[in-house]
């Protein structure tokens, strides 16, 4: 494990940094949630942010996606302050999927995915051939073509999450931030969603940042784990480096064994008991 101040691990040092947090302080009104945090995300990486409830991981993701403005420090997208980049420009580079997105009643899957083209459209050019081709491809790629005419609210939880990922794909951004995309899904649908995200990363070259609760799934799918506690970045590195018995005790107050996952070989956490 590498206890560090927040710089990217050397394994990805050659790739350019796409998204970075520099000394950011994040607060809701007067309550400071994250203070003086640094993080760099390189081109083509797949990062999972993990940590106990209330550690500030979703808050950090919101700041990385310019939904929350830091009260100190800054977020850089391709070296440029994200708060000073027109939001529409950002939306062509960085896509995000909030934790529980809501679709209006009666909206079809096809129309939902088509909304992903919004940053690329103008008032006159609302549905170009390009838009249509990209949306058709996004639907096909996520296996949603058959469901395109179905209302989103008639889908199962797993299908609905696929539809939203399809929309994020149609947005055509290099970077994709996902806030707990597996919430409320049963295990097989959690796997389904994470396989889809992993394919986005591997086959479509997306730089992915995902907030996840399940450490075993995070270790299996992400190349890099970032562990947070009390608004600070505690550890960052490969799953093998980060998921140690010591870290689980320090960060999660959890006594646990860490064994190799018999399927993927990644570290697997087997809880023993809660400490303290």
């Amino acid at each position: 494990m590498t206890i560090e101040t927040g710089l990217a691990p050397p394994t990805t040092a050659t790739a350019p940094v796409r998204l970075a947090a520099e000394h950011v302080r994040l607060a809701y009104d007067d309550r400071v949630v994250v203070d003086d945090l640094d993080l760099e995300l390189t081109e083509g990486s797949f990062t999972a942010i993990v940590g106990p409830n209330g550690c500030g991981k979703s808050t950090l993701l919101r700041a990385l996606g310019r939904l929350l403005r830091p009260t100190a420090g800054q977020v850089l997208l391709d070296g440029r302050a994200i708060s000073r980049t027109p939001t529409r420009e950002v939306a062509k580079i960085l896509g995000l999927l909030p934790q529980t997105p809501v679709a209006p009643e009666g909206l079809t899957v096809g129309d939902l995915v088509a909304r992903g083209r919004h940053p690329h459209q103008t008032w006159l050019r609302q549905w170009s051939r390009d838009d249509e081709a990209v949306v058709a491809e996004a639907l096909a790629w996520t296996d949603m073509t058959e469901l395109a005419s179905r209302p989103v609210d008639a889908l199962s939880g797993g299908q609905r999450q696929r539809a939203w990922i399809s929309m994020a794909l149609a947005q055509g951004t290099d970077l994709l931030l996902l806030d707990e995309p597996t919430t409320y899904l049963d295990l097989s649908h959690q796997i389904d969603v994470l396989e889809l995200v992993e394919r986005l990363h591997a086959e479509r070259g997306r730089t992915v940042v995902v907030v996840l609760h399940d450490l075993n799934l995070a270790a299996r799918y992400a190349e890099r784990l970032v562990a947070m506690k009390d608004g600070a970045l505690v550890a960052s590195g490969t799953p093998d480096e980060v998921l140690t018995e010591q870290l689980l005790a320090d960060v999660f107050d959890l006594e646990a064994r860490v064994l190799p996952d018999p399927v993927a070989g990644t570290p697997m956490v087997v809880p023993v008991r809660r400490l303290r």
């Binding site: 939904l67 009643e105 919004h118 006159l124 549905w127 170009s128 058709a136 947005q171």
Partner: protein, 356 residues
């Protein structure tokens, strides 16, 4: 393109650099509503002590009428109907804006206290200056201007009290209800202190009426619509994305606080001028967008169709109150009589959690 009909419900329409996805109902409903509105308006202009056939009315409207017909249609009857059309248009579009924005079918200028603000202004102008010389400022302004100021004031208060680095739909509804009760209390207080004659005329105003409208009532509203309606239609694309909730909308590149401010202010402006011209014709802004969305079958109230259905409702209700009902009642009584049961039905039907 082969995938046209599979991807979206609409048909792709592309002319040069212009492209859109159009559903036939989105186009058909406004066209049919407009045609129905022309016919209904002509029928309405033909009814009265001196009945005229619809073809005669239409001929007169395009400048081919005979002397007396011209006077009856253009000077006596057209202003009333035109004010009805414009008011319905403004209320319908404003209602659709509020409901889409707040993601709540109960949001309307009635429930948000804007029309109540107009009532307070108008009643103050009637009551405080009533009969004698206490005239002062309000009387000099006249009832329409007092109503306009009342509506704008409560609309701006609504906006200012809701604003916290953005406008939250839920907060908007709660602040609106609070403003509504303040306005209602103010109106009641003014009425209890009023002379009986003033109180009676104030009551007619509060109900909303098209009686004795002239071109002077139509002109300011027509100008306001000429400015605000194109702005509202230009916001359609942004509204479609704002429906998804704040985070998703911002993620898709919408400058949210600016867009929210624009939508609320456009809607407040539409309501203020409409209510100034005809009083708060109850429930039009509440029910019309929900009727229009059922006609077009989309996922949100369509702006143009809501406006045209609103115009149909006001002109139709006015025609019924003038001809079918035994006494000439203010049009607002009929729209309230239709609207209140509709509101109950909307509540009983129990829509999904995300919309109500």
């Amino acid at each position: 393109m082969t995938a046209v009909t599979q991807v979206r419900g609409g048909r792709a329409v592309r002319v040069g650099p212009v492209s859109a996805s159009l559903r036939w109902r989105d186009a058909a409903v406004p066209v049919l509503a407009f045609a129905a509105l022309v016919i209904l308006s002509a029928v309405s202009m033909g009814r009265g002590d001196f009945p005229l056939a619809v073809p005669d009315v239409l001929r007169t409207l395009v400048g081919l009428g005979k002397g007396p017909q011209e006077f009856i249609v253009l000077e006596l009857r057209a202003p009333r109907v035109v004010v009805g059309v414009l008011v319905g248009l403004a209320f319908g579009v404003a209602g659709a804006l509020f409901q889409t924005f707040a993601r709540n079918p109960l949001a309307s200028p009635d429930t948000l206290g804007i029309t109540t603000g107009a009532s307070a202004g108008a009643v103050a102008a009637i009551v405080l200056t009533g009969g004698t010389s206490t005239g002062a400022v309000l009387g000099g302004l006249g009832i329409p201007v007092a109503a306009l100021l009342g509506a704008l004031l409560s609309g701006l208060l609504l906006f200012a009290l809701t604003w916290r680095a953005g406008v939250d739909g839920y907060r908007l509804v709660l602040v609106g209800i609070a403003l509504w009760s303040i306005g209602t209390a103010l109106v009641d207080w003014l009425l209890t202190n009023a002379e009986i004659y003033d109180a009676a005329s104030a009551y007619v105003w509060i109900t909303g009426s098209l009686n004795a409208r002239t071109w002077d009532h139509a002109l300011p509203l027509a100008l306001a619509l000429a400015v605000l309606l194109p702005l509202a239609l230009a916001a359609t694309r942004t509204l479609a994305v704002m429906q998804f909730g704040d985070d998703t909308a911002r993620g898709l590149g919408v400058r949210l606080s600016g867009a929210q401010a624009a939508v609320v202010l456009i809607a407040v402006g539409l309501v203020a001028f409409a209510v100034s011209a005809a009083g708060p014709i109850a429930f039009v802004a509440l029910i019309v967008p929900q009727v229009a969305v059922r006609l077009t079958g989309g996922s949100r109230p369509p702006l143009l169709a809501s406006g045209l259905v609103g115009a149909l409702l006001v002109v139709g209700a006015d025609l019924v109150t003038r001809t079918v009902l035994p006494e000439a009642l203010p049009v607002g009584i009929l729209t309230a009589a239709i609207g209140a049961p509709y509101l109950l039905w909307l509540l009983v039907r129990g829509r999904r959690g995300s919309t109500l």
